[in-house]
């Protein structure tokens, strides 16, 4: 240690003057502050699920066309709602898997080409219309489209048929 006279030139054993030490502290503070600001801005820009817009059309990819052979169906989730995607002769069709009676999840019977509700035996045809059982309203339809090889469902636009 040197005897510290309080001047700019005073140094300790490592040869660092007070002036350059303070300079480094200041520069370090500025760099750390700038780093914090940049990190906060990145966090701000990364979207959260809860921030997702509820306006305008939005599509959900539910699989590839090859995943659903002709005549078969596949149960997918669209915004937490189970939806049946069917590959019919007229193209891909999407109907809600909630039975319109008590909202049980219905099942697609490939052989009989019918939806079966396990709760109260409600039955719907491939267009979603009631065939038998307690339900009175047809199933809710979803718009489905083939974009390239991928099947997309419109997440917002629902329509009754």
């Amino acid at each position: 240690m040197t005897v510290d006279g309080g001047g700019q030139g005073s140094t300790d054993v490592s040869g660092t003057s007070r002036r350059s030490f303070l300079g480094r502290v200041f520069a370090g503070t500025v760099i750390a502050g700038a780093g914090g600001v940049i990190a906060s801005i990145l966090a701000y820009l990364f979207p959260r699920e809860s921030v997702r817009s509820s306006l305008g059309p939005r599509r959900v990819r539910v699989g590839r066309a090859a995943d659903i052979p002709a005549g078969t169906g596949r149960l997918v989730l669209v915004d937490e709602e189970p939806v049946w995607i069917l590959n019919l002769a007229r193209g891909f069709v999407g109907v809600s898997a909630f039975c319109t009676h008590k909202s049980c999840v219905i099942k697609w019977e490939e052989s009989r080409r019918l939806f079966d509700c396990p709760c109260h035996d409600g039955r719907f045809d491939e267009r979603g219309n009631v065939v038998s059982g307690p339900p009175r309203r047809p199933l809710t339809h979803f718009r489905v489209a083939l974009v390239g090889d991928d099947i997309y469902v419109s997440a917002r636009e629902e329509r009754q048929v």
Partner: protein, 348 residues
């Protein structure tokens, strides 16, 4: 006396003119001693930059429609990470920007720094102050909450009292006599489109004039040994950086401790009683509401013209003692009147 060193870069360097420009800029000689008051201009510039940065961030989540504006601010403050902070920094730095610009102007007045060759600085500076206030005014409506709605409605009422021009003003800026989505979209267009362009143009001219004229020394008496000593600009910039770091600390602390509120969505049928304008509008509101409206509007307009034309009215290079007294008395009187009117409006 500081002598700028020569740069040893050659003109074949990849960044040829840039390096020379930066080198020359950093080594330009500035007065060694300038008062702390000079910081207000730099402070205003920093706060303006902060406004631009946070404003751009806010634009990412804000939705300018009567239907979605309030909802989007709610999402921003409650869901987006640091969203409340960005909004709070934007709000605080706008208030502080107006304050810094006002103090900057007061310093310029008392230092008589509006004389030639700085006349254009004064004119553009005054326009910039008006633009800063217009920014703050139009921005206050955008959250579309109860406070925003009713404070802008009170301003509309004040404007509606002005004879002759009120109809034109309200139709152009409000999109009609009442407050609906029209005014929100107009204020939004002003806030993020028109005013930024005016501000950038004026700021460019303002800084260019300042750069051209150089900084004013505080000690200009010939016998003063401190007069005419200089130091490099890079040295001054380090001082400015210190001011900026402190200012950033102040803005951040205020933003964290006192974030702006968000009242319920604007409801045209549920008036908020007794809404005060923002602090910088208190004297104007007092004037417009206590004098006959036509007279008050004329007084405000005349005052503005006089202040604007100050470099043309006061142009003597050296002023005799009596004029010095009058100059200072007028300045103090104007500030006192401003504070008095503001207090009258606030504690009415």
């Amino acid at each position: 006396m500081f002598q700028p060193a020569k740069s040893d870069r050659s003109s074949t360097s990849l960044f040829y003119p840039l390096g020379e420009i930066v080198w020359g800029t950093l080594h330009r000689a500035v007065p060694a001693r300038i008062s702390v008051g000079h910081a207000f201009g730099a402070l205003a510039l920093f706060l303006f930059a902060l406004q631009v940065a946070t404003g751009l961030l806010l634009m990412i989540y804000y939705r300018p429609s009567a239907e979605a504006a309030h909802y989007s601010i709610g999402i921003l403050t409650d869901e987006v990470r640091f969203g409340w902070l960005v909004r709070s920094v934007h709000a605080w730095s706008s208030d502080l920007l107006v304050l810094a610009a006002m103090l900057h102007m007061v310093r310029i007045y008392f230092a008589r720094a509006y004389l030639a060759p700085r006349r254009l600085s004064w004119a553009t500076g005054l326009v910039l102050l008006v633009v800063a206030v217009a920014f703050a005014f139009s921005g206050a409506l955008l959250p579309w909450d109860q406070y925003a709605y009713w404070s802008i409605d009170a301003a509309r009422e004040t404007i509606a009292r002005i004879p002759v021009v009120s109809s034109a003003l309200l139709n152009v800026f409000w999109g009609g006599w009442d407050i609906g989505e029209e005014v929100l979209l107009r204020f939004y267009a002003f806030h993020v489109g028109i005013l930024p362009m005016v501000a950038l143009a004026c700021l460019g001219i303002h800084l260019l004039t300042v750069w051209n004229a150089g900084l004013q020394e505080d000690w200009r008496e010939p016998g003063d040994p401190r007069a005419r000593t200089t130091r490099p600009l890079s040295d001054l910039l380090l001082d400015v950086l210190l001011v900026v770091v402190i200012a950033w600390g102040v803005v951040l602390s205020l933003a964290v401790v006192l974030p702006p509120t968000l009242l319920g969505p604007a409801d045209p049928l549920a008036p908020l009683p007794d809404v005060q304008p923002r602090w910088y509008f208190l004297p104007t509101r007092r004037l417009l509401r206590s004098l006959p409206p036509g007279l008050a509007a004329l007084a405000v307009a005349a005052l503005f013209v006089v202040v604007f034309a100050l470099p043309l009215v006061d142009r003597a290079e050296t002023e005799p003692a009596w004029r010095k007294v009058v100059h200072r008395a007028l300045g103090v009187l104007a500030i006192a009147a401003w504070v008095y009117l503001a207090a009258r409006q606030y504690y009415r």
